[in-house]
């Protein structure tokens, strides 16, 4: 793995995004609008504080999953991937580049969305607020890695988008947002134990409710990061230099 080539790939992905200001705008504005809408819907209740924080974990995951699966599918289909794999670029350079680029986008997105949630919508955060961003970034990298992985199984952008409900909705249903995980049927709560989004949502919950959140939330972030690393390796395995 080469730092220079990883960084060059990340810079290239960011440049592609820069030429697509509409996508960039959607990435930053949509989460804020949804958080605002949520605060308005639950105006005057305590629900916003619980769901709002969880949503800050869900956004980067969903968005980066979608963006990466479509971008890498394009890369596979346009022939640029085949071309790149004949150069000294290693597959971890490429995946690392994607993770770095979308991780950076996630930092900005998380700053915008959590800033909006805290200062405009009045989300109450008991623990250190930077942890909101840390969780969001780990989640974004996870979304990026999973998106990269599933793009190997899609042959069109339509299919790539269909993977979103398949991979994300089950995690969304089981992450504890709708029903606390402890109150789910045993089988479901076991399943939710092995789904990364559960830990991200747990971490967000801890940060908003506990002043001594750092230790426990960071442990959850570590678990999410572990899943992300696993997904990166799986994603790398799908980048084959020799294809049939």
């Amino acid at each position: 793995m080469s730092i220079a080539r990883t960084w060059a790939s990340a810079a290239r992905v960011l440049r592609q995004l820069r030429h697509d200001p509409r996508t960039l705008g959607l990435l930053l504005v949509v989460p804020c609008v949804l958080v605002g809408l949520l605060a308005w819907v639950f105006d005057g209740t305590a629900v916003f504080n619980r769901i709002g924080a969880a949503l800050l974990a869900v956004f980067p995951f969903v968005v980066m999953f979608l963006v990466t699966s479509v971008t890498t599918l394009r890369e596979r289909q346009s022939g640029t991937l085949e071309r790149l794999l004949t150069t000294p670029l290693g597959r971890f350079d490429l995946i690392g580049g994607y993770a770095l680029a979308f991780g950076l986008v996630a930092v900005v997105q998380a700053l915008a969305a959590s800033g909006f949630a805290v200062w405009v919508c009045g989300l109450q955060v008991a623990g250190p607020a930077w942890l909101l961003v840390a969780v969001a970034v780990a989640d974004a990298v996870l979304g990026t890695a999973l998106g990269l992985f599933v793009s190997a199984f899609a042959t069109s952008e339509f299919q790539a988008v269909q993977f979103m409900p398949a991979v994300i909705l089950p995690q969304f249903l089981l992450c504890g947002l709708l029903v606390p995980r402890a109150q789910m049927p045993t089988v479901l709560s076991r399943v939710s134990d092995v789904l990364p989004l559960s830990y991200a949502v747990d971490a967000m919950g801890t940060v908003t409710t506990r002043t001594d959140a750092a230790g426990s939330a960071l442990a959850d972030v570590g678990i999410v990061a572990g899943f992300a690393l696993g997904a990166v390796v799986l994603g790398a395995l799908t980048l084959r230099r020799r294809t049939p």
């Binding site: 592609q16 346009s78 085949e82 794999l85 000294p88 670029l89 230099r241």
Partner: protein
Amino acid sequence: MSAAPAAPQPCVEVDDLRVDRGGVRVIDGLTVRVPTGRVVGLLGPSGCGKSTLLRSVVGVQRVAAGRVRVLGHPAGSAQLRRRVAYLTQAPSVYDDLTVRENLRYFAKVLCAPRDDVQRVLELVDLGEQADSLTSRLSGGQRSRVGLASALLGRPELLVLDEPTVGLDPLLRAQLWELFGRLAGAGATLLVSSHVMDEAARCDRLLLMREGRLLADDTVAGLLADTGATDVEHALVTLILRDRSAASA
């Protein structure tokens, strides 16, 4: 034969290559040598396996059997990654980057010097479009962006899959001149095409049909062998000969 005495080691050596794609044998026991420092044209009807052979040479094709060596190393090995350049048949460039941004990225990946970007831009005559978004270019301009990226870092072997498709005659002539100059400077070019009038510009021609090699000769040798007056007729003659041999 025009082969020089004490010919240097061939740039590409393919021995008994067999490739299956989609459960069908598309290259069936192909053996060929590509001499160093020459422009070698790969001709044949569409679907005969030209792209598959080129993919095998750059090491991105899964092969069923056989041996492919490039510059003395197994095709696709790490030592070759900066010495062999590959232009895919469909332009493999990023549509949402400018021409210059595309080339800068490939230059970084290849560890080519930064000023190489300007050099290759001028070689393919894209200086004026350097800061245009690639998606806004015409088909011929886009394919030249791909060609420019293949020229970065001065590779020793250029594997070009139909590099002149969609180009106007003047530009095509310029590019073939460029290929000749590169070969003159010692590079080897393996160029596929289905435009027969381009073939006359190659030092050697490989004619393929249905995954096999029908001929491997100079243009003059080919014309003499078939009694044809141009390459197109020579190819037709060879294919008809091959067909009647198969049915006999």
